[in-house]
Structure formats: structure tokens, C-alpha cells
Symmetry: C2
Subunit: 150 residues, 2 copies
């Protein structure tokens, strides 16, 4: 069996002060990043810390979408707030914990159980959660738009 | 001493197919994300995997800028290519390795040694490297624009 292996490339160019510009392949829009204000940087610009939390949050969603499709779960909505806690411990800063709160909207009451199974599987199989030391806590909230089980 | 602790929040809203929109606080621009093509997603949109590599790449730069300022290192340029390797190992995907290649331009030959020390310290103290299991390899290339030591 062929080994499954993928590579992801990102280029970062320093601009001025504590700011840089990220670019990825081809037609992807650039993303400006900066040191956050609490570390003497800039407000109103994405920072590396937020990108880290965003990568976990979005990986759980893309994993969810993958399993939802495979299990023919009809999805009406998915909105997820994630919060990462950065703490100073034993001489270094570390992201100790990331809490992800997906609000999932499905069509029927009878889909709620399936959605629960799918988000649980996504929590376990998110490749970015697999790659980090931070504790990842997923607290889903699942609702059905129509209250029937047909 | 007051415990140093910061939180970072990111909201993600699913749009359609394998696409979502990331937002952070206040005036930050939204970032569109999607499952990458190799996992049956979309091209030309940033994916969670790239955001992860971007967070490591940019954290090393912001850490470098912090120490460079503290050590009064005059910086003329910093461009960094990072590549993450995602591998399937023992039943799961994991980012095994991220290689970061900062090209650093300083003013004088005599600043090269200082820049080497600063990038080495940044490699050790990057808070995102601290938080992940992937091996982070930093391979700096440092040049001076003027070849004198004054």
C-alpha cells in the first residue's frame, strides 16, 4: 500500500514593525498577521495564536463534514466558537487547552443521534488535534429544525 | 506574582459544501477556509492544514521580532517558507514534521552572529512549537546587506 503523505507550504514575509504577510499556493488570498497587542504588537490583525485556534476549530469542522457526507447526514447549519487558553507554565508559554463549541443544526429530531456520533468521531479523528499537546474539548450543541422523526 | 494567561477566540461558520468562514474579534477581516482538494474539498481556499503550518511559521517570526527588538538587532528583511508533512501513521493522520526556512537580512556582517542567536532563541521559545507534537526544524539563512563590520 502506498504511504499516504501530504505536504502543506506557507510563505511569510515580514513587512514592518510586528507585521507580516502570509501567502499560500496559487490563487489563495494573502493573510496579514501580527504579534497580538498583549505582546506589544497590533490590534485588528490576525495573530499566530488565533491562527492556531482557527486551525483546530476548522479541522474539526472539515472532519465533521467528511463523516457527515459519508453517513448521509443532512446538515442545515454548523457554527463553532473556539477558545484557546495560553498559559505560562514552568518557564514557557503553552496552549494548555482549546474548547470548541459547535452548534449543529440538522433537519429532523431523528438526525440528532447521528450528528452526535459524527461529531464524536470528528473529535477523535481531527488530524490537527492529533498533532498538538493542548487538551481539545469539544462541547457540541445539536438541534433539529423540524420537531418530527420522519 | 499574577499568573500570565491569555485567551484567543475564533468563530467558524459553515457556508456550503466543504467551506467555512472564520472570524475573530472586532475589525479583523474574515478568512475563508475549506477542506483541501486531496480530501475531496476545494482548491484556491486556505485549508486547516495550511493554517496550522502558518501559525507555526508566523509564531517563529513574531518571537524573532520580539528578541530582535530586545537585542537591538537592526532587521532589513525576513522571509520564511514553511512546509508541514502530514503522514498516516498507526491508523491516524498526524503532522510529523514542520520545516521552517527563514531568510534573514541584516545590515552588517557583524550582526550575523547576533541574528543567529536570536533565531535559535526564537526556535526554542515559540509558544506554538511548545504546544505541538510535530518536530519543528528551523533552518535559517542569514545575510548582511553591506559587507563591513562597522
Amino acid at each position: 500500500m502506498k504511504a499516504r503523505r501530504y505536504t502543506y507550504k506557507v510563505v511569510l514575509r515580514w513587512q514592518e514593525a510586528k507585521k507580516g504577510m502570509l501567502s499560500a499556493s496559487a490563487n489563495k488570498p494573502n493573510i496579514e498577521i501580527a504579534t497580538p497587542p498583549e505582546f506589544h504588537g497590533h490590534a485588528d490583525i490576525w495573530n499566530p495564536e488565533e491562527l492556531f485556534v482557527a486551525s483546530v476549530n476548522s479541522c474539526i469542522m472539515t472532519t465533521f463534514l467528511h463523516y457527515a457526507e459519508r453517513d448521509s447526514l443532512e446538515l442545515l447549519g454548523y457554527t463553532s466558537e473556539a477558545e484557546g487558553i495560553l498559559e505560562y507554565r514552568e518557564g514557557e508559554f503553552i496552549f494548555s487547552e482549546i474548547t470548541v463549541r459547535p452548534k449543529i443544526l440538522v433537519k429532523r429530531d431523528s438526525d440528532i443521534k447521528k450528528a452526535e456520533e459524527v461529531i464524536l468521531r470528528s473529535e477523535k479523528n481531527c488530524l490537527i488535534s492529533n498533532s498538538i499537546k493542548s487538551r481539545v474539548i469539544v462541547l457540541p450543541e445539536i438541534e433539529a429544525s423540524a420537531h418530527n422523526s420522519s
